[in-house]
Symmetry: C2
Subunit: 276 residues, 2 copies
Amino acid sequence: MRIVLRLAYDGTDFHGWARQPELRSVQEVLEAGLNRILRLQDPVRTVCAGRTDAGVHAHDQWVHFDVPDEAWQALGDRAEHRLRGVLPDDVQVLATSVAPHGFDARFSPLWRRYSYRICDDPKGVDPLRRRTILTHHRPLDVTAMHAAAQLLVGQHDFAAFCKQREGATTIRGLQRLDVSRERDDIVRADLVADAFCHSMVRSLMGALMAVGDGRQDIEWPLRVLQSGVRDPNVAVVAPHALVLEEVAYPDPEQLAHRAELTRARRTLVDPSSDGY
Amino acid sequence: MRIVLRLAYDGTDFHGWARQPELRSVQEVLEAGLNRILRLQDPVRTVCAGRTDAGVHAHDQWVHFDVPDEAWQALGDRAEHRLRGVLPDDVQVLATSVAPHGFDARFSPLWRRYSYRICDDPKGVDPLRRRTILTHHRPLDVTAMHAAAQLLVGQHDFAAFCKQREGATTIRGLQRLDVSRERDDIVRADLVADAFCHSMVRSLMGALMAVGDGRQDIEWPLRVLQSGVRDPNVAVVAPHALVLEEVAYPDPEQLAHRAELTRARRTLVDPSSDGY
């Protein structure tokens, strides 16, 4: 059977989601916890919806893994509680359930939503929120940032804003990129796409911040996009202000179809695409 | 001349406000920063409004220190900016100004306000907020907590809720103790008093939480108060959920009078009283 987990985590002390030798990752910590409560011969392998980079947080990450029916059923109602008991306090289990038929955490999503927060107060950021908000020492014009962002919305090749991986497509559907002032001193961006490539959100934010503080004009990020190549003036801004907020899945009856569609489309364009 | 600073800080990595040998304190870090920009023969000595314990945070701490006129004036407009440049990122300078005549950060306040936050969601606390919110594994009845709190409001001897110091008075005027649900999963208490004794907020919260989760009845904290002695059933709850939110001072023309009044009253009751 396939189990779905929803997690929140503080990315500060993780080297990202993905398991890497010798480094503390969310995947490694989660799998260690699952293996501890499941005690299987073959260790559990998890698949997530958004493979967050080092330092990036999640308010609602989705994960699936496959497990023999009897192993999960043996835990009964206590599975979620047991898992909470073995995970460290920078990972929170929001929910566990049996996956509907055809569910795939990575290939089924309709879209992912991320937030990015910047404090442009000359006093700097509230120390209690500094782990999740970027400090910027020049005031940001959110109207200009939002206007520049609207020119990027749509299905495009985001190669100019991605860390290229050989053979991987960089075509993504950016459905929404709203920039607004959440409080007097805090600018928030909300980004929704079918999927994001590696470092895409942070590069987009770097470009918009250059517009926001007047270093570039409103059309500049669009020109960078259209050039199709990375521009040294686009900073990849810090990860600690980025949060995976939400992942949307289709209704259960659409799930299998959606996953096939995503896989097929990604495979057509290139066989090694991440699909995150 | 006397300078007033307003600060915010993340108490996580500090052993409290007060300077102690070999330990990192807010006072030590702040004074080191001031000495670095002022370069005086006699190091600056600071006095604060609320001497927060280890792990306690501040959103608006007030501090004063005395400095030769020419040393401060030499820095001109750049004093605040320079100080920001030398302080670590867990301390934020909110404002600096020349103190009005008679101002004393410790003795002039009319009242101090603290907040305390508790998450009673069985899922636990959002990992991104875990450094400032206590997790409690039983649901809390905020109506009962608030009712119990109202019985404690007023001028009382809070000896039962204080770490006693020899010769120090424990009479305080608790002006407000409101308990409410800030969000579905987060309970917030707001406490206002002329001053608080050592560990008073955390002991009051421990008593109210015992009411909130049904271990004690609504009148129990009042009975503890009236007993005048510490009760082993009153837990001193964790410091990381406590924030000094606000300090109120009288109008400048009332300042000197207020400080004299506070000093005189504390001295009458006992000469060693902290006055925090």
